[in-house]
Symmetry: C2
């Protein structure tokens, strides 16, 4: 079965270690953190940490770059926004007002080119 970008992103976040890692990167901002620092903070062995960082990178939620001998990971905020938009899309058929606890505030409508149906590795 074909795995869509949105499912990849959700699957990448659907693990304690990776969600903690992602939230750590969201909190940190564009500067990001090195793999070593992350492994230390999350108390995860290096080889396991690699497994999880790669899951996030493959899903497009986290970007990787090299600085010296370290690999730095940082959250991709646009990807997260795309995901959020996708989840709340067409809420209640977008015409009705019946969404009791308020469907969603206004969010960037970048879903078109985002997580919707794009086909990529």
């Amino acid at each position: 079965m074909r795995t869509t970008p949105a499912v990849k992103a959700l699957g990448a976040l659907a693990h304690e270690h990776r969600l903690a890692l992602y939230r750590l990167l969201v909190e940190t901002g564009p500067d990001g953190l090195s793999a070593g620092v992350i492994a230390d903070r999350l108390r995860v062995p290096p080889s396991s940490l690699t497994f999880h960082t790669q899951a996030l990178v493959r899903a497009g939620l986290v970007a990787q770059r090299r600085v010296g001998r370290q690999l730095i990971y940082a959250a991709d905020f646009a990807a997260m926004n795309d995901l959020v938009v996708y989840l709340t899309e067409n809420c209640c058929g977008q015409g009705k007002v019946a969404c009791t606890p308020a469907c969603n505030p206004a969010l960037p409508s970048a879903a078109a080119r985002g997580l919707a149906k794009r086909r990529s590795a």
Copy 2:
């Protein structure tokens, strides 16, 4: 390892059938749809469909109610909003969610080239 509510919710959405099902329910609104109708729309055998609806119900994203001899499933919009808020929490070190659309000052690559304001971690 303890599985937090957020991870349960993300895991519940991290599957093609369940994401399609959830989005179908989001689009449908509070009235919801019966298991049979859902199975028909998603082209999933009844026993498999049950497996997936239960995953969403267990995660708190979908509510179940009986009407006659049918079981109706409907999205829980408050749960989705909670999840979205949780994902964007503490964005860029700020204590609010208000940065959600704006929390995209620059991607790490751009930041590394000095195209954006640098923040120390």
